[in-house]
Symmetry: C2
Subunit: 331 residues, 2 copies
């Protein structure tokens, strides 16, 4: 069974609680838009495409609750996390349907299907980048958990692996929330793709040693000039890859491209709570009198990106400006 981050049925919106993996695989069910919003804010569900779909279902759920309007529900869900463009695209897909009298649930289902088929198309578009035996580094989790199914960065690796290519994946653990060691490693284990978890600090060590042939990551928002907001640490990996002549790819569905954002300088970077850095479970990691800063994302300038893996193929940063979702989605 392939991994699915979320699904909807009459009982409500079901989310795998991504905070608990890989220790426990727990599914939580949500029946109120307020609770869907909280699940996004607290990262029960995370990954830009997945939170877009969760928010789309949150809108659909709101439409059958008393006292909610399309705009009020959109405002609540849109205030959960500021960086991922997909959140706003997912909300708008259902808001506009609801406001114009269409079935909000059908709109949410359609949005989910679109994201899943775009991620599948990313897999086929990107797989030729890994046609030969490759050691590939990835940061954070841009797998099925982040995108409902398939993944963005991981989709080409799944397809290449299925085709019998000998792949090895370096998995940055991705502090503070360890989406790499907990989630990406778990997905790769499910698919039996060989991999090793490393601390984020070690990525440069293996790049410089010649043990990394390519880097591929997902994205939370891509500006018109090709600047990329993604999980904090992505910028460092991109700079060090560039310095070592290693190609650096960013994989994303149409919903991550923000045509209204000229450059990365305008992308809001969420700063999350100190506790994510101060402690791990019951263990305190910092003196209580020390300050803590916890930006969740950073912005990688387009000049470090070798190519964007999109549902329509691999494009250079210069072509991001003109990217459009076709009237009929591929797949």
């Amino acid at each position: 069974m392939p991994v699915r981050a979320l699904w909807y049925d009459r009982a409500g919106l079901h989310l795998i609680d991504q905070r608990r993996l890989p220790v426990s695989k727990i599914t939580r069910t949500y029946r109120r838009v307020e609770d869907v919003a909280e699940s996004i804010r607290t990262m029960v569900v995370r990954g830009a495409p997945s939170i877009g779909v969760a928010a789309a279902y949150g809108m659909a759920i709101a439409s059958s609750q008393k006292g909610w309007t399309p705009d009020r529900a959109a405002k609540l869900l849109g205030a959960t996390r500021p960086t991922a463009n997909d959140l706003f695209v997912g909300i708008e897909a259902v808001r506009s349907a609801w406001a114009s009298g269409e079935d909000p649930l059908e709109a949410a289902d359609r949005y989910r299907q679109q994201i899943v088929s775009e991620c599948q198309a990313i897999g086929f578009a990107g797989a030729p980048l890994f046609a030969k035996r490759s050691n590939v580094l990835t940061h954070c989790n841009a797998g099925a958990l982040a995108t409902v199914e398939w993944g963005t960065a991981l989709a080409p690796l799944r397809v290449a692996h299925d085709r019998g290519v000998d792949l090895f994946v370096w998995v940055d653990e991705t502090r503070p929330l360890l989406q790499g060691s907990r989630l990406t490693a778990w997905e790769l284990t499910q698919e039996r793709i060989p991999h090793a978890v490393i601390v984020d600090n070690a990525a440069g060590y293996f790049m410089r040693k010649g043990d990394v042939d390519a880097v591929i990551v997902g994205a939370d928002r891509i500006a018109r000039n090709g600047d990329v907001a993604n999980k904090v640490g992505t910028y460092e990996k991109a700079v060090v890859a560039h310095e070592n002549g290693i190609p650096f790819y960013v994989a994303a569905p149409f919903s991550t491209f923000d045509p209204k954002m000229p450059t990365g300088a305008g992308i809001p970077v969420e700063e999350r709570g100190e506790e994510e850095v101060r402690s791990m479970g019951s263990r305190r990691l910092t003196p209580s009198r020390s300050g803590v800063r916890n930006p969740a994302f950073d912005v990688t300038p387009a000049k470090y990106v070798s190519g964007f893996v999109t549902p329509l193929g691999v494009i250079p940063p210069s072509r991001v400006r003109s990217i459009r979702r076709p009237s009929r989605s591929p797949g």
Copy 2:
């Protein structure tokens, strides 16, 4: 009271257990060379200059145990950790004294005093780099805990702070063992130097934002051409600092410079056990079927180093080749 990582008296060698800070400040006492070796291997004591001094006292302790020769004790202690040059310099300082009939304990005391006065000299030599209000980033712990007293990277910051300079320190947490969030943050708290702990991934974010004026780190071994082995992650910070035009300084006593090592390519990089990455206390962080790699150090090429802060002053990489400890140590 300034922090002291270790001291020796009739009861034996006393080490602050650095694995337990900042939660508990526990001192352990060692009376057998086998136990001193184990304390170095398991990182009760860590930091290149501190492990050099601990090993020097380990040699002195061996000289009063039955059945130990200078060479046998040197071999045991030298096999604990491969990367730090100071370990071998500290061992040799006592081995040669012991082998030639001098008092090994006096030789160990002399070695400790030399390291402490060199670190103090580093503080005064480096403080002018931070003569104005500065935001300074550091990686790992190169403070008093790492060097017995004063520190290497932290010594100039202590001196500048004492002179009233308005300093703010960005503290990389330094996975996997968190020497930044646990040890550097603790030392800065003791000295009331303003600081914030960040995950290692966030260093580049703050550099690119313009919030970092300089980077200063310690070192485990410096080759003749100026290549620097230091805690894993140092290389990434150096590359990203270089990319952003931020000066990158390496502070070290004479014992860290290895005149027998032509370039960084020959420096052995210790790879430590998987458990450091797999779990935190009782909490599992990776799937059990996932692989793990855990290099403890990396090598930063000399071209990324703006200057070496030595007891004799700040020198460029090109002058590392000719660095010599003066016949009388400064201080």
